[in-house]
């Protein structure tokens, strides 16, 4: 029996009618699609979705609409006249690329933290001594460690070139990274701060050269780059750099 026939049988035994009112609510289905449910609700939701046709459709929309809504939000916020602070825009752009919800500025909490910062610790010296001892201990441990291979370091954006957060006077000639940090790397995508793709190149030996004509076209501003695998899924990044001549 082939897979299409098995799929047809699965659909035949799925709940076709009358089930929607008993289905999990929208927020639960979104959290399920994003893998954000705890173990117990995830198990219950999975059991239901696996045999509920309407919920399969809704979860599928939740998955597909995730990137769509993030991209649309970035574009709406980039419309002139829509006041969004620069740092928030960048964070949201990064969030679009990483799939992680960007933090929002919270005036109330920043006021609170300002007040907290103004309070000086009365007994500062025990903390200072403890910090010094801790740093000596950590340095000692680090010196004892054998040199690590790239593969043991994990994903470290700082080890990329250009490093994330770098200010450059001209566009970089090459993007490179530790090979182990981006397994299956196949392409590099360069995006503007508006999250629109500017250039894409194929990877060779964990690096890719930026053609001179592209470099010449990059105006001053903020750019992001990320490494993708052959399936087009991001495997490293985004890393950000700024060109300010």
């Amino acid at each position: 029996m082939n897979e299409a026939e098995l799929c047809a049988l699965q659909r035949a035994i799925s709940i076709k009618t009358g089930g929607v009112s008993d289905c999990p609510d929208m927020d639960t289905l979104i959290a399920f699609a994003d893998g954000e449910l705890g173990a117990a609700p995830r198990e219950l939701t999975a059991l239901h979705v696996a045999q509920c046709d309407p919920c399969v459709a809704i979860v599928r929309v939740a998955i597909s609409a995730r990137q769509w809504s993030q991209d649309l939000a970035v574009d709406i916020e980039a419309v002139p006249g829509i006041a969004v602070p620069d740092n928030v825009h960048y964070l949201r752009t990064a969030a679009t690329l990483t799939g992680v919800e960007a933090p929002r500025p919270d005036r109330e909490s920043s006021r609170t933290s300002d007040v907290m910062r103004r309070k000086k610790p009365r007994m500062w010296w025990p903390a200072a001594i403890a910090a010094t001892l801790a740093s000596v201990f950590v340095a000692n441990l680090a010196l004892r460690q054998p040199p690590m291979e790239d593969g043991l370091r994990g994903v470290d954006p700082i080890a990329t070139s250009p490093m994330s957060g770098t200010n450059l006077s001209v566009a970089p000639e090459e993007f490179s990274w530790p090979c182990a940090a981006a397994p299956g790397a196949a392409s590099v995508e360069l995006l503007g701060a508006d999250a629109l793709p500017r250039w894409k190149g194929s990877v060779r030996d964990c690096a890719v050269s930026l053609p001179i004509e592209v470099r010449q076209d990059l105006a001053a501003g903020e750019y992001l780059w990320r490494v993708k695998n052959a399936a087009g899924e991001p495997v490293l990044g985004p890393m950000v750099f700024r060109i300010s001549p």
Binding site: Q10, V20, V79, G81
Partner: protein
């Protein structure tokens, strides 16, 4: 400041085809939904909010929920219509048409469905849910994310589950439609 009509139209001109193609394409067909109607409803709901002075926190999340609530409403309406149609069929049409379908075909189809239900329910839950999600059309990466598994584990469990369902159906004497 709210979006102007021109700004809204030009932004949506880019995103509506994507919504139609990627977000609703397959779902609309499988659920019998009117994709154009959904897009119009999404457009109306977004315009109401984005053209107002209302401040939307977490805009991406809001946009996603707007699309989903329109789809859910549409699925519900569709379900209600299907139920009415089934009731209507049972009440009026089925008795007249009962004799037009060959009894052996009906029995064969029902046997297949029963055998599939039995084969699936016999699987351990760890493989049953990934296998069912795979047969529902999710890929191993999506299954892994939903179930909190690595891609490789999700792939392994789902395909092993499907193989076991296939083997159980073979033992039960359910063969391919072609055979």
């Amino acid at each position: 400041m709210p979006l102007s009509r021109e700004q809204f139209d030009s932004t949506m001109a880019t995103y509506e085809p994507r919504l139609r193609a990627h977000v609703l394409g397959q779902v609309g067909a499988s659920q019998g939904l009117d994709v154009q109607e959904i897009i119009q409803e999404v457009r109306i709901r977004l315009w109401r909010v984005l053209s107002s002075e209302k401040v939307v926190e977490h805009l991406a999340s809001y946009l996603r929920k707007t699309v989903m609530s329109v789809v859910i409403d549409s699925v519900r309406r569709n379900q209600a219509l299907r139920e009415d149609a089934i009731d209507d069929l049972l009440e009026h049409q089925l008795p007249a048409e009962r004799h037009s379908v060959a009894p052996d075909k009906v029995v064969d189809s029902q046997q297949r469905v029963d055998a599939a239900r039995k084969a699936i329910s016999a699987l351990p839950a760890r493989r049953r849910v990934p296998a069912q999600l795979l047969l529902q059309g999710f890929n191993p990466q999506e299954i892994g994310q939903m179930l909190g598994l690595t891609d490789a584990t999700a792939r392994n469990l789902a395909y092993r589950g499907v193989d076991e369902i296939r083997a159980a159906l073979r033992i039960a004497g359910v063969e391919s439609w072609d055979e």
